[in-house]
């Protein structure tokens, strides 16, 4: 798959505050970018801008290929069982519930449990599973390691590198160290 994500000279404003400016990003197939920076510096805002959910204060975004976003918003029905909640999105994406992915993320024993009873890490794994069963070349992951145990963290790192090997793009915002075969983008250097 040929994917592309280009951000040119974007700036982000939150209220009266200019969070960052002059930030450019150029990702082609196979690229991984680790976005770092302190809390509140605009990592999540950058991800939403890249996803097209928020408008940048200045600059332009262009992308080729479908975008998949995993952030702190789960978008799963809290009152349904995990299996049903994931099946809703699988139907929408036209993908079948992928047993292999669920096994990889250790979700199989959780399928009958209502989403609201899941822990932070389990919810995060569910959101990642939804991303995996959908065939989209551009991954935007906002703090994907939050709440995950060591084993699941390793799995996520493995999944990201596999995705990039297959020609996908991964932009990962994380304040935690994460093993990524790609460049690091520190928002700190665009704050002024």
């Amino acid at each position: 798959m040929q994917a592309q994500l280009i951000a040119t000279d974007i700036a982000c404003r939150r209220g009266d505050r200019l969070l960052f400016r002059g930030l450019s990003l150029n990702c082609a197939s196979g690229d991984a970018v680790h976005v770092t920076g302190a809390n509140g510096i605009g990592k999540s805002s950058l991800m939403r801008i890249l996803a097209g959910l928020a408008r940048p204060f200045a600059g332009e975004i262009s992308c080729t290929g479908a975008i998949g976003l995993v952030d702190e918003r789960l978008a799963l029905d809290m009152n349904q069982s995990l299996g049903k909640a994931l099946a809703f999105w699988a139907r929408l994406d036209g993908s079948s519930a992928d047993g292999e992915m669920h096994a990889l993320l250790q979700l199989e024993p959780l399928m009958d449990i209502p989403v609201r009873y899941l822990s932070t890490g389990q919810k995060k794994r569910a959101a990642l599973a939804r991303l995996l069963t959908r065939d989209c070349p551009i991954w935007l992951l906002d703090e994907p390691l939050n709440g995950l145990d060591t084993q699941a963290q390793n799995t996520v790192e493995m999944l990201i590198s596999r995705h990039c090997e297959q020609g996908g793009i991964a932009v990962v915002a994380s304040h935690q160290p994460i093993a990524l075969a790609g460049e690091t983008l520190d928002i700190e250097s665009f704050t002024r």
Binding site: G52, R55, A66, L69, L74, A75, L76, M78, W89, D93
Partner: protein
């Protein structure tokens, strides 16, 4: 829930104004309209805010489903969830208020043509207030003035021999239902920033 609320209003009204059968028959149609309007306000809180908060609308957008389409489907779902049951509940309510068959017919037809408009106003307001704190209370207040035209023509049809009131109600409903997906979609987009 909105249904029980609707029936409760229809049940309380005779207690409040006394058991004068003629007066009930004369004013009952209007009471049903007011009860229907208030019942339409009840589900507004959960209509958009929950999905916005949980990121469902974000994920839909990333799958190429525009806010307008999501809101159009939501409008249909919202109407289906409250209007058909409300129309059914009009029959026991009409019995409680001693309405004549003619009045019942006008009320049911009026509600049938007016409820899409009520649902549309409700959805637009729910989308506008979704990202605010205390949005639900504000939504209730905002719906009432916007729903007044529907109420005037819908309830006004009761005191007219021809069907012009019903037709005007239906016309308002059509306009509102056509505008709402765009208005609510724009409101959802604006609330993301």
């Amino acid at each position: 829930m909105p249904l029980l609320f609707f029936l409760a209003v229809a049940m309380l009204y005779p207690f409040a104004v006394g058991p004068d059968a003629q007066m009930l028959a004369r004013t009952g149609g209007g009471v049903i309209w007011v009860a229907a309007l208030l019942a339409a306000i009840l589900p507004l809180e959960k209509l958009v805010a929950g999905d916005l908060e949980a990121g469902v609308l974000d994920q839909l957008y990333l799958r190429g489903i525009s806010e307008e389409l999501a809101m159009a489907v939501r409008l249909l779902a919202h109407w289906l969830a409250f209007a058909p049951l409300l129309l059914l509940a009009t029959l026991p309510a009409a019995a409680l208020l001693n309405l004549s068959p003619d009045t019942i017919r006008t009320v049911v037809l009026g509600l049938l043509s007016g409820t899409p408009g009520l649902a549309a106003v409700g959805l637009t307001v729910a989308a506008l207030t979704a990202s605010m704190r205390g949005g639900a209370a504000l939504a209730g207040l905002m719906v009432i003035p916007l729903a007044v035209p529907i109420l005037i023509f819908g309830a006004g049809a009761l005191s007219r021999p021809d069907s012009s009131g019903l037709l005007l109600t239906a016309a308002i409903s059509l306009v509102l239902a056509a505008v709402t997906p765009f208005a609510a979609g724009a409101a959802v987009r604006a609330s993301r920033d």
